[in-house]
Amino acid sequence: TQAIWNDDDSEGYEPLLSERNLETVEVDDTDLPDHLTRDSLKLPELSEPELARHYTRLSQMNYGIDSGPYPLGSCTMKYNPKFTEDIASLPSAAVHPDRDEASVQGTLQIYHELQDYLARIGGMDAVTLQPPAGAAGEFAGILIAQAYHEDNGEGEQRSEVIVPTSAHGTNFASAALAGYDVVELPEDDDGRVDLEALSAAAGDSTAALMLTNPNTLGLFERNIEEIATIVHDAGGLMYYDGANLNALLGRARPGDMGFDIMHYNVHKTFATPHGGGGPGAGPVGVSEQLESFLPNPQVRERDGEYELFEPERSIGKVHGAMGNWLVLLKAHAYISRLGGDGLRDASAKAVLNANYLASQIDLKIPFEPFHHEFVASAGDRDAADFAKRMLDYGVHPPTTKWPENVPEALMTEPTEAESKTSLDQLAEAFGAVAADEPSALEDAPKATSAKRIDQTSAAREPQLSWHQLESR
């Protein structure tokens, strides 16, 4: 059971800082003209002991990887090694982005090494570390594809990006942000790309196909070579969404499968912490023909010294500086710790864990053979209710209701970091919920800090700051 910090007087759980002590401070005594300055500022004024207690209590009302199993499908919630935080906290890592290249050689060396590591891992020829998240990586990658086509004089003509129906929502949104029309590609009955549909969709207006492999059902796209041929023959580029790369480390590389562009999610595959929603990082790898389109700047080495340079036909920038440096540093540390063999082992254990967990669960899993994740169906239960009830068993539930080719989907990715004991606990939770009375699911959760939260009224009457809070 999670901690519940509430007191009888409060209408909620831990009070808001604003409910503790809100003070108005006058802004006077400046030599600035009045029309430039505010009159006052009204914010919580509390001491460090009060704040330490506030946040400590709040933290106990938050579930992280170190709290218990976290098999959130497609998010690869693996263990975040603590030592990487120590490196990211070193004073020597705290540098301003406008520092001379000569004075940040250590930082640039780490960028350069990580570019190299990622290129090897993905089978790519060059890598940019600039995109600050997976979706930013997709956007950068699609801009690279766009620049490539423009460079070929096909910028106008190639106005479509093909995305499988079961793909991550970011794929659609990133392509749209870059100005593309999105062509949705249905899956075949086996849960994989429908080659006929792809052939029909691919053509002169195709800029790229965005593909996740293994896909969101955990299935490897066995026809990946044919897929690449179809897209390439149509003049399009192959884009690899790296969300599921943890399934393949050391066993298959996007570059070898015919992908021209890919992004890596270092917070998924390379164990940097998810931070409650970020920061992550979404480096992008490309094949040689696309290298000159990479964002500005890239890092290169000359005689042991590192320098920045602008690629010849660079797309420009997708982040105001060099991306999420401290996250990238942690990813470097993780890769250096595991080495190639460790990464390959991580992948093996991730796939082993998913398959073992699936073997211990009675729910229907329509598509296989899956790799690092599987999508079970909650059957006649509502998947969202199913998930809420799982909370009562002390675990984080899977991703729910997606992809849509599995009814009431429970997309489950245990990662390599769960022990057999922990997987057994998860399997028990699945089993217990499946066996529970329907009402137990609807009333769930009970063993959590907060009980089931009303989403409808949250959206209907949004209260998005303490200024808007009203007692209802």
Binding site: E11, Y13, L17, V25, V27, L36, T37, L41, L43, E45, L51, Y55, T56, R57, M61, G64, I65, D66, K78, I87, A94, V95, H96, A102, F139, H168, F172, A173, V182, F220, E225, R251, R253, D256, G275, G277, G278, P279, N296, V318, G320, A321, V327, A333, S336, R337, G340, D345, K349, L352, S359, H371, T399, E416, D443, A450, I453, P462, Q463, L464
Partner: protein, 455 residues
Amino acid sequence: MNGNTTLTTRETTDEKQTGTPFAPQTDEDVAAMLEAIGVSDVDELFDIPDAVRFDESFDIDAGSEQTVVRELTETLERNDAPIEFLGRGHYAHHVPSLVDHISLRSEFITSYTQYQPEITQGFLQVLFEYQSLLVELTGLEIANCSMYDAATALGEAATLADRVRETTGDRILVPDYIRAERRDVLENYVAGADLVVEELPADDGVTTPEILEEAIDDDVVMTYLESPTTDGVLEEHLEEIGEIVSAHDGMFCLGTDPVALALLRSPADVGVDVVVGDASVLGMGPSYGMGLGLFACREAYLRQVPGRLVGASRDDDGNRAFTLTLQTREQHIRRERATSNICTNQAWVALRAAIHAASLGPSGLVSLAKRCHRLAEQTASRLEEIEGVSAPVRDRHHFREFRARVDDANAVATAIEANGFAIHVVDEETVQICVSDRNEHRIDELVDAFTEVVN
């Protein structure tokens, strides 16, 4: 587990490490699990056609924790360690120790997006408090709980402007003092919508109503200014500018930051529709530009806002509880019609910023902001006294930083660097200096170094 202990003077791995040290399965576990699955080897679980199998090695060595920490520490020590007087859009203040201690609590840092709000009240509440902080500082009704950085937030503001504007138009106005990096990002964000970015000149560092009147027309979807500007100058005519923008049915977007806002008139009060900027000025030390995109806007845009929003609601016990809300705007539901492609954002940096702001409180925030103003003005005055230095270059109000004119900017910066200080070179005869609580204790020495170097 046990066997020959190989001794070398560089232990590359823990002696018990065979694969990843972060997978818990024992050999017995693996055997039992394979049996339960019904295969004899993990390899059988991989459904990868031979033609695309990878059978080589990455040729990346493993290392023990101790080795990796030591080696990366040594690599980072290749960075010089000057006292930085650097700003130009990337700022840092002293981060209270509490911020590190709390933000590294694993319940916070190892969690992900709050898809299950019932077990993530802690993070949700901090994000709600973060949003509220920005609402108070900007005067706008809505703040999301993070984008990547100032540049991408600006890009998102432009696409928002394009979405919400009733009439067509394709011009975006930005000031000429904007950092090139921000402009580059903005151009990438608006290219898909076929918008064109144009620069507004400034009058000795600030934008006047006259300048804007000259440039604006009904095709201007968004007008963007900054205050403080990249040069450290405070814009002086925002209210009039806001009226002009509004008269042309454009969106008025302002770039700023939470520390500056503690001192400045609230953006909403001068007619700003959207505030963007980098909020990592609270919560993060210098991080090579790793940021926290601030994004706040008028309530009118609520259903078009990009990014995550935390709202208050009730739970089944009738208690107030928090949840992500209005998710139908987002990519995982709305896909290509989403208000943004953003998913993973900078939530943890927002948590740090919230803790930092709470540690300062309103009194500390206001006092820090005043200090940033006065330190800039005073330091400029002291440099002005030096023969051969003219500062500030702009005859304007400054916040945190200012430009100074010297004979040979590169030579001065190099000589200053030899004294252990880093400053900006803006052009051949201009340097820029940013002062704050982080380098305040070395200002005397910086001034001395200038005196010595220039003479």
